[in-house]
């Protein structure tokens, strides 16, 4: 069967034809455009082949549209672009490495689109700015979609670019057609902040700069721009290029909440007997952190971090996260900052047969909600959960509004009795730390290794570094947040957002990439089930020399689900001897060290005896301090 005839797009044909006389007359027919960066130049066409120039010109391209696309990307503050290569963006890929010189952005090679986005997710939280992710048309975006959902839930800015061939008549059929769509954004529209499918290079310039602007404006979130393959691959004539305009990104200021409302909030908070500040998706920046501490101290208020967020320092005397239930039960005024799951702050529902809503706060308590997070509420997915109204809702960026609130609180002042409240909170906080240190010693020598022991062994080896915990920690029963000193908001990157698995290892590598530049040591934990969703991301860390201590908390199962299935079996009194079916990851046991070694990563394990853990960590950290990733498989107690 003959190859199908591939029609040359009209625009391409005309461009090639128009260029022929000029090229021939100038004698520079095959002189390539100089690349933007030094590199090997293509040899000039030998004289003997000059008569072939017109024909060669018909099948070669100068100044492709994707070069302009790279020019657009270079106007944005993008250091990296994570990708799994795909033919729908082959033109853009080539322009990134040759026209763009593979710098700003530099390509990060990934082995799964889900990992590429999760990597960008973690990077955004540590770098404080977005990374671009370039995915293949349709199938690449489908792979990426769960990680985009996580990032949307976690309000992490990411510029997602997807390849596509918009014009149906230009598709060659097969994969090229299967990997194209008329509206790719439809796939992720419910969980990106904005999406654009440009139909011209000018549209691309405006759409991409706008997308970046929207992604980085609070509440931050992922955005999608679709890159048309024809626009990438067709040449752009010089006069046409001269007409193209790249908008300049300008500074944008976050909205401060209404002054009268902030004054009202200050009145309530300063008059409260037991004020509580609840911190959710509040920024991790130094200034934002200082303002938060200033507010807490001015109010002598208890501060509770949303689960896994660790924004407010856990050893600050006013930090009360572990006593959240108690302080909320006693609260008379609550200030919720950038709360996403606002309903769950106020109401709980235990996982029991016949359970009903149970209030967490007194009915008479006044609740203030300050932030912009709920402006991201969407119709379909349950991220914003059930509805609860605040007594005073202030639409304004919490970080931008806090200086005004602090000023007002200081102006009003506190009664002298507030000092006693602060002392009581400090004593309770200190007692919790003492209790955690005591509790951690139970099962100290147990094998498999207790999660508290693992946490302590790691902590003892990183505490004098400028460190970051770049993963969730519920796998370890939250021992790090109980035992480690999270003295700065950047110490923790929080959680996945929407609990989509496969997040931790990839996000940790993204965070580690940002931390490498900042001179910070990155450590991360991932449950074995979570890690196994995309272990190939360790190759990306090795390939790009990203230093990270990755610890697989190996309980040989999807342990959360082991517990859920058991709960069902118990409620139904049908015995629990079959709950391992579909939940355990054993027989054969997986050799995580061997897998990681296969990716070129230093790895040890399974480490099942506590005495072996310290030396294994020392060896791994020596590798990390030399600038490379390392992995330890720790066979642990289940949680």
């Amino acid at each position: 069967m003959p190859d199908p005839i591939v029609p040359i797009p009209r625009r391409l044909f005309l461009a090639a034809a128009a260029s022929v006389p000029t090229l021939a007359a100038s004698g520079a027919a095959a002189q390539p455009q100089a690349p933007a960066t030094p590199g090997k130049s293509i040899p000039a066409t030998p004289a003997a082949e000059e008569d072939l120039a017109p024909e060669i010109a018909k099948i070669t391209i100068r100044d492709p549209g994707s070069d302009f696309m790279v020019d657009v990307l270079k106007t944005l503050d993008l250091d990296y672009i994570a990708t799994v290569p795909g033919s729908s963006f082959r033109g853009l890929h080539e322009s990134l490495i040759n026209h763009g010189g593979n710098r700003k952005p530099e390509i990060l090679t990934c082995l799964h689109e889900d990992s590429a986005v999760a990597l960008a997710h973690g990077y955004a939280k540590s770098a404080g700015k977005p990374m671009a992710v370039l995915v293949h048309g349709v199938v690449g975006l489908q792979h990426a979609s769960m990680a985009i959902y996580n990032a949307f839930a976690d309000q992490a800015p990411i510029l997602v670019l997807a390849g596509n061939l918009q014009a149906t008549a230009a598709r060659r059929g097969g994969a090229e057609a299967q990997h194209s769509a008329h509206d790719q954004g439809a796939m992720v529209r419910d969980f990106v902040k904005w999406d654009e499918q440009p139909t011209s290079l000018q549209d691309f310039a405006e759409g991409t700069v706008r997308a970046y602007d929207i992604a980085t404006t609070a509440p931050t979130a992922p955005v999608l721009v679709v890159c048309d393959a024809q626009a990438q691959e067709e040449p752009v004539a010089a006069d046409e290029r001269a007409q193209l305009r790249i908008p300049t990104l300008k500074e944008r200021h976050a909205p401060v909440g209404d002054n009268a409302a902030l004054r009202q909030a200050a009145q309530w908070l300063t008059g409260a007997a037991n004020p509580v500040i609840f911190v959710d998706h509040y920024p991790r920046g130094e200034k934002a952190g200082a303002d938060l501490a200033a507010l807490a101290e001015a109010l002598q208020a208890a501060v509770v971090n949303a689960r896994g967020q660790l924004i407010f320092p856990n050893r600050h005397p006013l930090h009360q996260t572990e006593r959240a239930a108690e302080v909320l039960r006693q609260a008379d005024v609550i200030l919720a900052l950038e709360a996403i799951d606002f309903f769950s702050l106020l109401v709980t529902m235990p996982d029991r047969v016949g359970a009903r809503d149970a209030p967490r706060v007194p009915a008479a308590a006044k609740v203030i909600r300050l932030g912009l997070t709920d402006t991201m509420t969407r119709a379909n997915y349950g991220l914003y959960d059930r509805y609860a109204a605040a007594d005073l809702a202030i639409s304004g960026d919490a970080a931008a509004s806090l200086p005004v609130l602090v000023e007002e609180v200081k102006r009003i002042g506190l009664p002298t009795s507030a000092a006693a409240r602060g002392k009581a909170l400090a004593a309770a906080s200190s007692a919790l730390l003492g209790r955690a240190r005591s509790e951690a010693l139970y099962g100290w020598d147990a094998s498999p290794i207790a999660t508290a022991r693992t946490s302590v062994e790691v902590w003892n080896r990183i505490r004098h570094d400028d460190w970051v915990l770049a993963s969730e920690q519920q796998w370890l029963s939250d021992w790090p947040s109980r035992l480690w000193d999270f003295d700065k908001a950047y110490r923790s990157t929080g959680n996945a957002g929407a609990a989509g698995v496969g997040y931790n290892a990839a996000a940790a590598i993204g965070s580690a990439l940002a931390n490498k530049k900042l001179g910070r040591l990155t450590v991360a934990f991932a449950g074995d089930g979570d890690y196994l969703m995309a272990p190939g991301v360790m190759w990306t860390a090795a390939h790009h020399q990203i230093p990270l201590l990755m610890i697989v908390h190996n309980n040989r199962g999807y342990h959360q689900e082991v517990m859920h299935v058991q709960r069902m079996a118990d409620r139904r009194s049908r015995g629990v001897d079959r709950i391992h079916i579909g939940t355990k990851i054993e027989d054969p046991n997986i050799d995580f060290a061997k897998i990681a070694q296969g990716y070129g990563v230093h790895a040890e394990g399974p480490v099942s005896h506590p005495a072996e853990l310290g030396p294994a960590l020392d060896r791994a950290l020596a590798v990390v301090r030399r600038g490379m990733p390392a992995l330890i498989d720790v066979l642990g107690q289940p949680r």
Binding site: E439, L441, G443, H559, R567, R571, S573, I579, Q637
Partner: protein, 115 residues
């Protein structure tokens, strides 16, 4: 109720509970720790309470153990989110085995000092 009578009532209640607990402890049937260990793992106690019985974010620490009566009651009619274990799933004799195993686990923390 006056303050004094309230104190008296509390004392009686405490005494009665202490006595009850002590009797329940005394009344713990003899169990087999080896069988209990196998049950501890096969019935999934380890999932929330860990193999070492030291507890986790999902379940309380089991060492040192409760009095047998309280242990039994927690299995049959649990507090918090622990699922119930009816007699059809765990017999009293099996619970005695479990209790024997939990009682055999190290009860005290290590002497290390953390900071």
């Amino acid at each position: 109720m006056t303050k004094r009578s309230k104190s008296y009532f509390c004392f009686i209640l405490f005494f009665a509970l202490s006595l009850g607990a002590a009797r329940a402890q005394d009344a713990a049937p003899r169990g087999d720790a080896a069988r209990g260990k196998a049950l501890y793992e096969s019935t999934g106690c380890y999932e929330c309470h860990t193999y070492a019985g030291i507890g986790s974010s999902q379940g309380s620490r089991l060492v040192p153990p409760l009095a047998f009566g309280a242990f039994l009651k927690q299995l049959r009619l649990p507090r918090a989110v622990m699922p119930p274990y009816e007699a059809a799933v765990l017999s009293d004799a099996q619970i005695a085995d479990l209790y024997a195993y939990v009682s055999s686990l190290p009860r005290t923390p290590a002497s290390a000092k953390l900071d």
